[in-house]
């Protein structure tokens, strides 16, 4: 049994590390392009609800595994981005992926992923707004 577990762990570890490694490379490259001035400008010019909508849309179209977003989120948090925007980015990145839309359309018909997209958009927006309100009390 232990041998079986170790074989499974080993197989999964190297495969995941390759994917995560590539994802982290992409994320740190992308986060190196984000600077404090552009974040401050974004905070001044764009209202919070709109920031949340942008964040979830960016999350929806972002490629790659779930873990790649963390280096970018750390940087955004350091620059003082609202917690609601961070929640919207994390949730948006995983709730709908462009590739899964086609898979779901194939399995359930095209109406299912379209409705799921709209539902995800609303739910993520509400989660982002709730987090931005509660964030001040929790953190």
């Amino acid at each position: 049994m232990i041998k079986k577990i170790l074989i499974y762990f080993n197989h999964k570890l190297w495969r995941t590390l390759f994917l995560v490694g590539a994802g982290v490379l992409f994320a740190v490259t992308l986060s190196s392009l984000i600077n404090i001035e552009s974040v401050n400008l974004l905070k001044q010019k764009v209202a919070l609800p709109l920031q949340i909508i942008y964040a979830e849309l960016i999350g929806f179209i972002s490629p790659g595994p779930r873990y790649i977003l963390y280096p970018i989120l750390i940087k955004l948090q350091e620059f003082g981005i609202n917690i609601g925007v961070i929640i919207a980015l994390i949730s948006g990145h995983v709730l709908i992926e462009p590739s899964t839309v086609f898979v779901e359309a194939g399995f359930f018909g095209y109406r299912f992923p379209i409705k799921r997209f709209v539902v995800s958009l609303i739910v993520t927006f509400l989660a982002g707004m709730l987090s931005s309100v509660l964030g001040n009390y929790i953190w």
């Binding site: 499974y8 992409f26 392009l33 779930r66 995983v94």
Partner: protein, 176 residues
Amino acid sequence: MVKFIKKLGPDIKIAILLILLSIILMLTFQVNFYNLMSSNKEVIIKIIYLTGVAIAISTAIHFLIPEDLARKHLKNNKLIYLFYATLLGVLTPGPVYAIYPIVLELRRKGVGNAILVAYLTGQTIIGPARAPFEIGFFGLKFYLFRILLALIMGPMAGILFIAFSKFWPDKKIIVA
């Protein structure tokens, strides 16, 4: 070459695509690779270490939680099961592609689409393998808050799906 690429798994293809995108970004914006790696050394090491922890957690879940857990507990097609489906989704490890066989099986057994939406929402939003990353980077409070949010978002997604389906019902698809 094309045959070789076709043979690769989807995760490997995505990894290669991400490496290519990174190279394009570095060349376009003249990012120095050495500086990039050294300035992000701590985050990179932390992510690699946390990946090992996350894989250990998902391996433990793979061997401890039976595969038919979701199938067993989502047989009934009632509204109360939206919450139950979300909770089971949160507990189900693995990438989203890995759970489509479960989702199809549930559909075959007559589980409604709204419950499947709640299950997919719970599964994708958070999971046990994310714990090391989120606790490691943002703290325990953040992770607990995210679990709570997931448990609210899943049933809400199911309820909204039901509401939309009243105006735009799903087409009947026969799942073989």
